[in-house]
């Protein structure tokens, strides 16, 4: 069952404007810039959330959602929809241009112009980078969070903001290297890439490895002209973890060298990557700062969805439909990509409904026209039911398609003997046994067949049935020279099988 991540309290939750240094219990770095010391805020456990819960009615305000609406007590959704209603027209789903625009707005790959709900985290990272650039010191930062929480997107934004700020404040613009660690053939290639970026015209001496070269470079006093700072954003950092953890370690150690010029930002999913894989840095007192991107809450998802829909001049979704989607996704994983996927799926439901109704409509209008001709009366204008908004029922179907597992459907549609075999496996494993072999299973299977007066299939056919079921992932077959002694384990929950087969009386009695 997907559990809500219990992570360290995000400081932005209660106080978006300050960075309480005191609360960074685990990983604090002295190389971090001296940010303003704020008053320590009372530590609030992320679970005991008094401002919002899955059952919160919409009218409650969610403070960390937006800095703009902190003052008002009106719900953000109501306020947005108020601002929406006067200017929005009706959506015409039959117009392909409009449909295309809606789908594009809801696509995962469209980056929204302004990124909401991540202002706090972006601010922290930006301040860290700014301090590094100002003081011309190196530093490292580790960004972690579940997939779909906006990490890479936020880092792109921070990059742009940093450039903007560097131009305005008159500092030298840093070099930037954005690298996705999955695209490296060898983990040590990252050093040659860093070297290539920092010294693009110099040829690398074959004798020294890129890592050594970099280490030499950063240990010597730089020329008076000064080198530019380099911002390295390493995405999917856990691909660099090797058995001896050398590459990751060396990468972070680069920032600790006396004349190092790199600001390293690593992005990964694991919260404790820094603790687990970089223990030596603790002793040197230069552990990277950790910024956690928590999974989105229901209100955050809702806000982001509305932000995307705001550019369109028409209302596409019923507010209840969006709220249902946000609730479901927030409860399951808090993954924004899923939410967008579900919304697109709901739009496709509308398309399918339109196609069906238009084919029914056209056939019924042909019928009617024919009848009218026969009767020679004035033609009646048929009222077509207008579908101009994605309704709650569309969203419900889309959500059930996303979150339903195909296992129950498949078990219900299996042929009879395969179902009997699954049944006998369930009965066998009820006694507490964990695995058995095909011969034992055969005995149970034949007993059940006898009780149902169905002729059982032979052992050859039975082993091929076992193989088919193991291909589908319902059973697991071990290896053995003889068919009969292959080990069999059940991969599906007993409750799922019981639920799937409850419609058939025989299996219901059998599995009691």
């Amino acid at each position: 069952m997907p559990a809500i991540m219990a992570v360290k309290p995000d400081s932005a939750r209660s106080n978006p404007d300050s960075t309480p240094q005191k609360r960074r219990l685990r990983s604090d770095t002295t190389a971090a810039p001296d940010s303003p010391i704020s008053t320590p805020v009372k530590w609030k456990s992320p679970r005991t959330c008094t401002t919002s819960s899955p059952k919160t009615p919409i009218s409650r305000v969610e403070r960390d959602c937006s800095e703009n609406i902190t003052k008002s007590h009106k719900s953000p959704i109501k306020k947005l929809s108020d601002s929406l209603t006067p200017t929005k027209q009706k959506w015409n789903p039959l117009d392909s241009e409009q449909m295309k625009a809606v789908k594009e707005a809801m696509h995962v790959s469209t980056a929204p112009p302004n990124i909401v709900c991540r202002e706090g985290e972006q601010k922290r990272v930006l301040e860290f980078c700014q301090a590094c650039v100002e003081q011309e010191k190196a530093g490292s930062l580790y960004v972690c969070g579940c997939p779909g929480t906006g990490k890479s997107l936020s880092m792109e934004k921070v990059k742009q903001l940093l450039f903007h700020w560097a131009n305005e404040a008159g500092h030298q613009q840093p070099n930037v290297l954005t690298i996705n660690c999955t695209s490296l053939a060898k983990t040590s290639d990252i050093f040659s890439k860093i070297l290539g970026e920092s010294q693009p015209r110099k040829k690398v001496n074959g004798a020294t490895s890129p890592l050594q070269h970099l280490q030499n470079l950063y240990s010597q006093k730089p020329q008076p002209s000064g080198m530019k700072m380099m911002l390295i954003i390493a995405d999917e950092l856990d691909y660099l973890i090797t058995k001896d953890r050398a590459v990751l370690h060396d990468l972070f150690m680069l920032t600790t060298l006396p004349f190092s010029r790199c600001i390293l930002i690593g992005i990964a999913n694991a919260i404790d990557l820094a603790d687990r894989f970089l223990p030596k840095l603790q002793s040197l007192n230069c552990k990277p700062m950790v910024v956690t991107f928590r999974a989105y809450s229901k209100d955050q998802i809702l806000k982001i969805l509305y932000e995307r829909l705001m550019e369109l001049p028409y209302t596409v979704f019923q507010p209840q439909a969006l709220e249902l989607c946000a609730r479901k996704v927030a409860a399951a994983s808090g993954d924004m990509r899923k939410a967008l996927c579900v919304c697109r799926s709901a739009i496709e439901m509308v398309e399918a409904e339109l196609r069906e109704s238009s084919s029914n409509f056209s056939s019924s209008i042909v019928e009617k026209a024919f009848l009218e001709q026969q009767r020679a009366t004035a033609p009646v204008f048929l009222e077509k039911q207008e579908i101009d908004v994605v309704r709650l029922d569309h969203m419900v179907v889309a959500l059930s398609k996303t979150y339903k597992s195909p296992i129950v459907d498949t078990i219900q549609s299996l042929p009879q003997h395969q179902q009997i075999l699954l049944c006998s496996a369930v009965k066998l494993f009820r006694g507490g046994k964990k695995d058995t072999n095909v011969g034992e299973l055969n005995k149970f299977y034949m007993e059940i067949c006898k009780s149902a007066l169905i002729p059982p299939v032979g052992i050859l056919e039975l082993s091929s049935i076992c193989r088919v079921l193991s291909d589908q992932g319902l059973l697991k077959l071990g290896q053995s020279r003889e068919d009969k002694s292959k080990r069999v384990t059940l991969c599906v929950d007993e409750a799922d099988i019981t639920f799937a087969l409850q419609g058939i009386r025989f299996f219901r009695n059998c599995l009691q």
């Binding site: 069906e356 195909p406 498949t410 395969q418 049935i465 291909d471």
Partner: protein, 419 residues
């Protein structure tokens, strides 16, 4: 003469149809609710709207996933001739990321008539793929990646999947990733970051319903009326076929056959056999053809072996069974003979067989693999002393005895008794 030629021609036509998956799956794809239309809608909307998409096709082996996909792709290539290019990968061959990227680059090069160099490194290939995706995105051309045996790509570090799906996250590329797998939980096998990028769309390929099955049989086995085959013969053939399809016994045969495996492929194998049994003399399919095919497919080789055994060999098998029931862990020919002697004594069986004849019968059983040695080490010992075990279960033995032509009643008694 002419009649035989016609019949042969019809037979060839039927057999070639049964081997052609795109012909077989046509009728199943006609309804708007079918997987064919759903898949076609998803891919064509991705192509026309220039957005990225991903979908999984799940179903047991032989349920027609690749066949339906091929049908859809064929139709789409006709509908959008220049807007689609297809790249096919297989999890059995290309699950290693080096191989996968090389193969992608090779297929892209072949499609766009570029020169492919086998010396290209992994970096070059991945850069090439990303560049091609961008170029095709600019040219509004969609690349469709078909990943067969999708669950095998999910082994190891899943780099191929991650790179493909990550490339689809950017606006510049236009790609559709179609995964085909027989594992129902294929998307549970993905790492969470890969799963987050993969859309949840799944198409289940379930076995056909009874009505679908009926339509399928009609579609495959009916001869075309207006082809080179003579018109009258075809009409008569179809009429007889309709009668047979409506027959209850025929339906029962099909149901019995499909009870163990309900996939379309399984049915096709059965139909092929049945059609091959068609008599060239009469030229029509009859119920007998299907019955013969059923009994031939559902063979039980060990039972047939038992039917060929002599009475002495049956006695030996029953004695071994009794020894097993008495929970003797290992026994050899001598202990079997002892058991046989005790049975003869207690039941006063009159027949007497010499030692050498019994040994010969024992060796026959070994050759037919109804029994075998339990260890491979004692090659130097003679046959009498090496431990043996039964290779058939008691149920099979009982069934064999029942179907034996003139099995002595004593054997049944011995099988039933505990001691």
């Amino acid at each position: 003469m002419g009649r035989e030629n016609t019949v042969e021609e019809a037979l060839n036509l039927l057999r070639s149809r049964l081997c052609n998956p795109s012909f077989v799956f046509k009728p199943l794809s006609d309804s708007p609710d079918s997987n064919y239309s759903k898949l076609k809608f998803i891919i064509s909307s991705s192509v026309t709207e220039a957005c990225n998409n991903s979908i999984l096709l799940l179903g047991p082996r032989g349920s027609g996933k690749i066949a339906v996909l091929e049908l859809v792709l064929k139709d789409l290539l006709v509908e959008f001739p220049d807007l689609i290019s297809v790249i096919k990968l297989s999890g059995l061959l290309h699950s290693d990321d080096n191989c996968a990227f090389k193969e992608i680059s090779r297929q892209l090069c072949a499609e766009h008539q570029l020169l492919f160099s086998k010396m290209a490194s992994f970096d070059d290939n991945s850069q090439f793929m990303i560049a091609m995706l961008r170029e095709c995105g600019l040219a509004h051309k969609t690349i469709i990646f078909v990943l067969d045996e999708f669950d095998l790509f999910a082994q190891g570090k899943q780099r191929v999947l991650y790179s493909l799906l990550d490339a689809m996250q950017s606006v510049t590329s236009q790609a559709v990733v179609i995964g085909v797998s027989c594992r129902l939980d294929a998307d549970q096998l993905l790492e969470k970051r890969v799963r987050s990028r993969f859309s949840h769309r799944k198409l289940l390929f379930l076995p056909p319903s009874k009505e679908d099955l009926q339509r399928l049989l009609e579609h495959i086995l009916s001869l075309p009326v207006d082809s080179t085959i003579s018109h009258d013969y075809a009409v008569e053939f179809n009429a007889k076929l309709q009668n047979m399809l409506a027959d209850e016994k025929f339906k029962q045969i099909i149901i019995t056959y499909m009870d163990s495996d309900a996939t379309v492929n399984h049915l096709l194998r059965f139909l092929f056999r049945a059609v091959s049994y068609m008599e060239l003399g009469s030229g029509f399919l009859s119920l007998e053809n299907f019955k013969t095919a059923l009994s031939n497919i559902q063979r039980q080789p060990k039972l047939e072996c038992i039917k060929d055994c002599s009475i002495l060999e049956l006695h030996i098998l029953v004695c071994m069974k009794r020894l097993e029931v008495k929970e003797q862990n290992s026994y050899n020919f001598n202990s079997v003979m002892k058991e046989y002697k005790s049975i003869r004594a207690s039941f006063q069986i009159s027949e007497y067989y010499a030692w050498s004849i019994c040994l010969r019968a024992f060796e026959h059983l070994l050759q037919r693999e109804l029994i075998c040695f339990t260890d491979n080490r004692g090659q130097n010992q003679s046959v009498e002393f090496r431990p043996v075990k039964l290779l058939i279960s008691s149920h099979e033995l009982q069934q064999g005895l029942k179907s034996y032509r003139s099995c002595p009643a004593i054997l049944f008694k011995l099988m039933d008794r505990e001691v």
